[in-house]
């Protein structure tokens, strides 16, 4: 009797837990009006001024707006918080006429005071926003002309002035200017903006929830809530996507090619590919004896089989680049042909430069010094790891000895800034219109980002001239010449522009791929249950 009771009790316990399991499974069922996005890590804050993380802007671009925006297809600068603007003839004054009646999500009106306040905060030495501050060094002042007009005053003309003024983050003065410390302000984790979505909730390390802004002036998006789920392991995130717990996710090339081609995946997901401005490169430090000579640098490019590397490491995805600009911008010179893979030519160039195997040990030498250099990589980067192991083998075949040194990112960056390396690989994330000054001007070889000691008189002149050339066509023309110089000098071996590979659940329609990427404000929900 007693025995029977306990068995029954266990049975009922199992049944109840099954019931609860069933319950909990149904709780995770997605709300059709909610977009579930993947976020790979938890941002620290959502303050657009102090945070420099890319993931912060992924969220903030839904909440905060700037004076101007870029068209999704043409990349032209278009009005956002400013309806129009005027640039003075001396190119020093930018006057922005603000949109009237724009409300912050708490109901207070957006005015010129917010713009002036945001600028002052950025300039304030006690604000921890060094990466942002550097953009506004050349602005002398920002003045309020009236409630809906502001003026930015530059100390010298600069072709990216409109870009920098127009994309300055703007925060509500009435929220942040309350006498408490800006860097640790409570609203750094509770943003108030003017954008299409408002901040709802943040479960640290788990999810960030946004919902449609009822006060938003534009068309109301079909998607009522956006939930960013924080999942740091990409293969787990892919499983969540397949299970329907995520709607949007950036996938890696290997997943794009191997794990997202099943019939059911194609049936349920769009696979979208676009290119944002970026490129990877190998830099040859011309301070070293090996890479001082441009013939050697050219030979190195001839020795790197970039097509094969693209097949092996990026599964054929990505585009080969020949220069420093965004491949779809007009500044990029499309006439330059990529230097071909040609070990024989490389050998000739090396021998012209004096590198020959005179002692018959299989390694090239010059004046008794062997061609044996060290490639420095950041240990977290798998791409660098694989790339260098391929290089090592390829270079050994023509008699160049290459060693690989791996460092933690912080140490790697430190060595980079101290110019303590012989060869490195990295990738740059650029903007749509970029100024090559910091990467390539000879004034930047010691403290800027001209790590590889690139110095060329003509290039310097071009860069300086382009900075004050406001005519796009003229500027792009001289940038094309700059592309030719880079090609001739080969300070870098330019590698690839990597694609953004995104999978989106087909429960949304009107999902378009723009030059700038995806815009889920325009997405529609297919099946409104």
């Amino acid at each position: 009797m007693h025995q029977g009771y306990s068995v029954n009790f266990i049975k009922s316990l199992i049944i109840t837990s099954m019931f609860f399991l069933g319950c909990s499974a149904s709780v995770t069922d997605n709300d059709p009006y909610t977009l579930y996005m993947h976020l790979s890590s938890d941002p620290g804050t959502l303050n657009p001024i102090t945070s420099s993380e890319a993931i912060t802007s992924t969220i903030n671009e839904n909440i905060y707006e700037t004076l101007v925006d870029r068209d999704f297809d043409t990349l032209e600068i278009v009005p956002q918080l400013a309806v129009k603007w005027k640039i003075s003839d001396d190119k020093l004054r930018y006057i922005f006429y603000l949109r009237k009646g724009v409300l912050w999500s708490d109901g207070v009106e957006f005015t010129a005071d917010d713009v002036v306040y945001s600028y002052r905060v950025i300039k304030d030495p006690s604000t921890a926003c060094a990466p942002l501050k550097v953009y506004y060094i050349d602005i002398r002042d920002v003045r309020k002309i009236d409630r809906y007009t502001v003026e930015f005053i530059y100390t010298k003309p600069y072709f990216l002035g409109l870009n920098y003024c127009g994309s300055m983050p703007i925060i509500p003065k009435h929220i942040f200017d309350d006498g408490t410390d800006f860097n640790t302000h409570k609203n750094n984790r509770h943003p108030v903006g003017t954008g299409a979505y408002i901040f709802k909730r943040w479960d640290t390390g788990k999810r960030i929830v946004l919902s449609a802004n009822p006060r938003y002036r534009g068309k109301k998006p079909d998607i009522r809530n956006v939930v960013f789920k924080i999942v740091s392991e990409p293969s787990v995130a892919l499983q969540m996507l397949k299970k329907g717990e995520l709607d949007v996710m950036s996938v890696r090339p290997i997943e794009w090619v191997r794990q997202t081609n099943s019939e059911s995946f194609i049936k349920n997901f769009y696979k979208l590919e676009y290119y944002i401005p970026n490129y990877s490169w190998i830099g040859w430090n011309s301070r070293t004896e090996y890479f001082k000579d441009k013939r050697v640098r050219k030979a190195m490019t001839h020795l790197i089989n970039r097509d094969a590397i693209r097949e092996k490491l990026l599964f054929g995805l990505g585009k080969l680049v020949t220069g420093t600009f965004y491949i779809y911008s007009r500044a990029y010179n499309p006439d330059i042909k990529s230097i071909e893979y040609d070990p024989e030519k490389a050998k000739r160039l090396l021998s012209e430069a004096g590198w020959r195997d005179t002692d018959g040990d299989g390694i090239l030498d010059r004046n008794g010094k062997k061609f044996s250099f060290t490639f420095t990589i950041a240990s977290e980067k798998k791409f660098s790891e694989r790339l260098t192991s391929i290089l090592k083998e390829d270079l050994a075949r023509v008699g160049i000895e290459m060693n690989i040194n791996r460092y933690e990112w912080a140490v790697f960056a430190d060595r980079l800034h101290k110019r303590n390396f012989e060869a490195i690989t990295l990738s740059w994330l650029l903007s749509y219109s970029d100024d090559p000054y910091q990467l390539w001007h000879s004034s930047q070889v010691d403290a800027g980002s001209n790590f590889c000691n690139f110095k060329n008189r003509e290039a310097d002149r071009i860069i300086e001239k382009a900075r004050v050339e406001f005519n796009d066509r003229k500027r792009n023309k001289i940038y094309h010449r700059f592309g030719e110089i880079l090609y001739d000098e080969q300070p870098y071996t330019f590698l690839f522009c990597s694609p953004s590979l995104v999978a989106v659940n087909k429960r949304f329609t009107n999902v378009k791929v723009h030059l700038r990427g995806l815009n889920y404000l325009e997405w529609m929900i297919r099946d409104k249950k």
Binding site: P131, Q438, S443
Partner: protein, 333 residues
């Protein structure tokens, strides 16, 4: 006894200062600091040499311009006031970041340690009693196989096969509780959390059985060969009584040493498990803080761990006396 206790507690203070000073030195002397890492390459790319002043300004904000000794003294002074400072990452109090991450890590660790002990110790005892039997050989083979499997691999395999959509879909993929269950009733919440914790706990435990089971077995074997066990057998005591009362109690002394590591062990989280199962615990918090040189967080976690270790050692010393009356505390100093 009291004198001993007072002495030991007083000794904790200089030891603690020593440990934290070394930790502080290490993190300050490591290449890179929070500001330059945050700015990274992207910041300096835009303004080059001019930006140096700006970066120095920002380092000053975080006191990184001060000499290391001054920085440490300030940290220690604030610690006395129980102020761990604010995290660089999100500007919140370090204590609130820790109190957010700690409960889940504690839960996971307590469950894990409990399971490991409850399985390994009986297994070790049984193996020692049935020494060289098929059971002994079989379990030790199995435990060593488990021990040698890397947890990132096992964790992912479990996720792919038991939570994915292609094979079995038995467990949730991520997190510790379903969305919307936070406010459910206690029992419902408990079941839901338990359901989420199955795979993380399996991943955390499977590799730990081998060590403890073998350790218990070795200690037991040493005791079983003693003459008093033979005496007990000769007296005609039952095997259970011999093993549990006479042998096991005496094999406890080395096990007590392990207790010293138990307390700080509760605090540490596994970065791998937390990453695979998307659990925002102590492991990830610490790991991320170290990589980004978030000094206040690193110092807080390390000083708590140091304190717990010292207390753990102290407790272990007292426990020695408890399990073995021959050990006298006073004689040890």
């Amino acid at each position: 006894m009291k004198k001993y206790l007072a002495k030991r507690i007083l000794l904790i203070i200089p030891t603690f200062i020593g440990i934290t000073l070394i930790t502080y030195l290490m993190i300050r002397l490591a290449p890179g600091d929070y500001t330059s890492l945050k700015a990274g390459l992207q910041g300096e790319i835009k303004a080059g040499s001019i930006s140096k002043t700006i970066f120095d300004q920002e380092r000053k904000l975080y006191g990184l311009d001060k000499p290391i000794v001054v920085g440490y003294a300030e940290w220690l002074f604030n610690l006395v006031k129980l102020d761990f400072g604010k995290s660089r990452k999100d500007g919140r109090d370090v204590s609130s970041r820790i109190s957010e991450a700690l409960p889940i890590t504690l839960t996971l660790n307590i469950i894990t340690i409990f399971i490991v002990y409850i399985i390994s110790i009986p297994l070790g005892i049984y193996s020692s009693v049935r020494r060289d039997s098929t059971f002994d050989r079989g379990t030790s083979l199995l435990l060593f196989i488990l021990y040698s499997l890397p947890s990132f691999w096992v964790g992912l395999i479990l996720v792919m096969f038991l939570s994915g959509e292609e094979f079995l879909n038995l467990f949730p993929l991520a997190g510790i509780i379903s969305e919307g269950m936070e406010n459910a009733g206690f029992f419902k919440k408990l079941v839901n959390m338990g359901w989420h914790l199955v795979l993380p706990v399996v991943t955390l435990t499977y590799g730990s059985f081998a060590f403890l089971a073998r350790y218990t077995r070795a200690n037991m074997l040493e005791v079983i060969n003693q003459q008093y066990i033979t005496t007990a057998k000769a007296k005609g005591l039952s095997e259970a009584r011999i093993v549990i009362v006479h042998a096991f109690r005496n094999s406890l002394v080395p096990l007590v040493t392990l207790m010293a590591t138990l307390l700080p062990g509760l605090l540490g989280g596994s970065v791998i498990v937390e990453r695979i199962f998307s659990i925002p615990g102590m492991g990830f918090l610490t790991f991320e803080a170290i990589l980004s040189r978030d000094i206040p967080v690193v110092m807080a976690v390390e000083s708590i761990a140091a304190l717990l270790t010292l207390v753990g050692i102290l407790i272990a010393d007292f426990a020695y006396a408890l399990v073995d009356p021959r050990i006298r505390l006073e004689s040890k100093i």
